[in-house]
């Protein structure tokens, strides 16, 4: 019991260290550069304690739950040898987790407000909502396809850089044709798609698949799923801009 407590305290200290840079940056800019006192100090200390506690639980649960779950599913699929179901699973995982992703919903809402203000779309609530939903759907579709391609790559052992560089070339070409106002949002949408729960799960899935297939190296083949998930949304959002135009 005492040992467990010690481990927990050590983990808390680790999380606090992870957070220390943010605290220092905010304190320095607030006190020295902006020359203002910290508002609601008690609230901030309470909030920071929650963040430290939350990060500790998250990491603890990661090793206990998310990683083993992703790996055991990957092994089960590899043993079953049913590629079609694995692909369906990969697509569902990508699409399902992205369409409900809070940071994507936030960015899509912001983008549609800005688009309405810039007279790109009509300034009616329905038009704004349709635009935001369309954006979300396109990004989710893109992530679903990305995970499918990424899993296929692990199965076949294709080298990742040809696919990613090929993707870059397509993005560059599409940038030439896409309307100006979609480009910033399109580039950003690549970054916001992968949520905090999806990343550990997808990483464990990739590494698990690569370890259970003969001839695959988990380091070389297991990583890379997230890379696809941050590339394809750019293409799909630019395509969305082209269609709307």
């Amino acid at each position: 019991m005492q040992k467990q407590l010690f481990v927990f305290l050590k983990a808390l200290l680790g999380s606090f260290k992870d957070l220390l840079p943010i605290i220092l940056v905010i304190a320095f800019f607030q006190l020295v550069i902006l020359n203002q006192p910290l508002p609601n100090v008690m609230d901030i200390i309470f909030g920071l304690a929650l963040v430290v506690l939350g990060l500790t639980f998250f990491i603890y649960g990661l090793e206990m739950g998310l990683f083993p779950l992703g790996e055991s599913m990957a092994q089960a699929f590899a043993k079953k040898g049913n590629v079609a179901w694995l692909m369906v699973f990969a697509f569902c995982l990508g699409f399902g987790t992205t369409v409900a992703e809070p940071s994507l919903i936030a960015v899509a809402a912001e983008a549609s407000r800005v688009a309405a203000a810039g007279n790109v779309i009509e300034q009616t609530p329905t038009a704004i909502k349709d635009y935001a939903n369309g954006l979300r759907f396109m990004v989710a579709l893109a992530v679903g396809i990305a995970i499918v391609v990424g899993v296929l790559r692990i199965l076949k052992g294709w080298p990742i850089h040809y696919l990613i560089i090929g993707g870059y070339v397509i993005v560059v070409i599409m940038t030439g044709f896409a309307p100006d106002w979609i480009i910033g949002i399109a580039y950003d949408s690549g970054g916001v798609t992968t949520s905090t729960i999806t990343v550990p799960l997808v990483t464990a899935l990739g590494v698990g698949l690569a370890s259970s297939i003969k001839g695959r190296n988990p380091m070389l083949d297991g990583f890379g799923l997230i890379a696809f998930a941050s590339l394809t949304p750019m293409m799909f959002v630019m395509l969305y801009g082209l269609i709307l135009n």
């Binding site: 550069i33 639980f57 990491i59 990661l62 940071s103 983008a111 990583f223």
Partner: protein, 262 residues
């Protein structure tokens, strides 16, 4: 008491957010794999801890860091702070915004260090590489990449260059590095671009970008306000590959020295 109610609400939202993932996993586990999950009790508890941790984390950020960070981003980009007057001159000197770049780099670095999904990938990379990749060094390399990316991205908003020149330039660097860096690191480097920007970084960085675009004349929030996240997902790729090249170069030098001694 109020905090407890607040926490309960955040916890509920977190659970609703992960419901799609849970239902997909359950469906495939029951309908396709048709085998019980090994150590189901432990995995279940682990999942619960992840949700609990995420809810606490989000509530704490919402309470302590986001309001302050967003307010600071607005104040630092306001003309009164930068020029000392309310009125903006016709021509903006990008040098005047130096505190914005420093803040951008500092906030990019520090939020990336605390980013939970990056921690997850770093733990996994350390495990898979048999300890060859140090989790902390990887996180610092990624955070440096984000810092440079966001600082450069803020500079771009101030001067108003089109975003695609920078991104395409970055792509070219990535392609060249891919050809000459150790093979093992490439997939991990590509991945590190996508994991940097989630829970902590996005809200703060988006506030900085929109604040800048709103206060500088001639910039539109539509075209210039977005794009910082794109910088934050491109530069870590370069930084991680650079880190690998540097370590490979160091080992090479050490080997050479050893040979010389013999």
């Amino acid at each position: 008491m109020q905090a407890a109610i607040e926490f309960f609400n955040v916890f509920k939202t977190t659970i609703i957010d992960v419901l799609p993932i849970i239902s997909i996993i359950l469906f495939f586990q029951i309908a396709v794999i048709r085998k019980p999950i090994p150590n189901i009790k432990r995995v279940g508890f682990g999942f619960f801890y992840v949700l609990l941790g995420l809810a606490l984390f989000l509530m704490g950020l919402e309470k302590a860091l986001f309001p302050l960070g967003k307010m600071m981003a607005e104040q630092l980009t306001a003309p009164e702070f930068i020029l000392g007057t309310d009125t903006l001159p016709d021509v903006i000197k990008w040098q005047d915004y130096y505190w914005v770049y420093i803040f951008a780099a500092a906030i990019g670095f520090s939020t990336t260090i605390a980013e939970p999904s990056l921690i997850a990938v770093a733990i996994k990379a350390n495990e898979v590489s048999g300890g060859a990749i140090n989790a902390t060094s990887l996180r610092i390399a990624v955070a440096l990449g984000v810092a440079i990316g966001i600082a450069l991205g803020s500079y771009r908003i101030v001067v108003g260059d089109p975003i695609h020149y920078y991104i395409i330039g970055g792509y070219i660097v990535v392609v060249i590095q891919t050809m000459c860096c150790p093979k093992m690191i490439i997939p991990l480097a590509y991945d590190s671009g996508g994991v940097t920007t989630s829970t902590v970084t996005v809200p703060l960085v988006a506030a900085l970008g929109l604040g800048l675009a709103a206060t500088i004349p001639g910039r539109s929030a539509l075209i210039d306000g977005f794009g910082l996240i794109a910088f934050a997902s491109l530069f870590p790729i370069i930084a991680v590959m650079g880190y690998a090249q540097l370590s490979a170069f160091k080992t090479h030098l050490a080997e050479k020295e050893n040979k010389d001694e013999i």
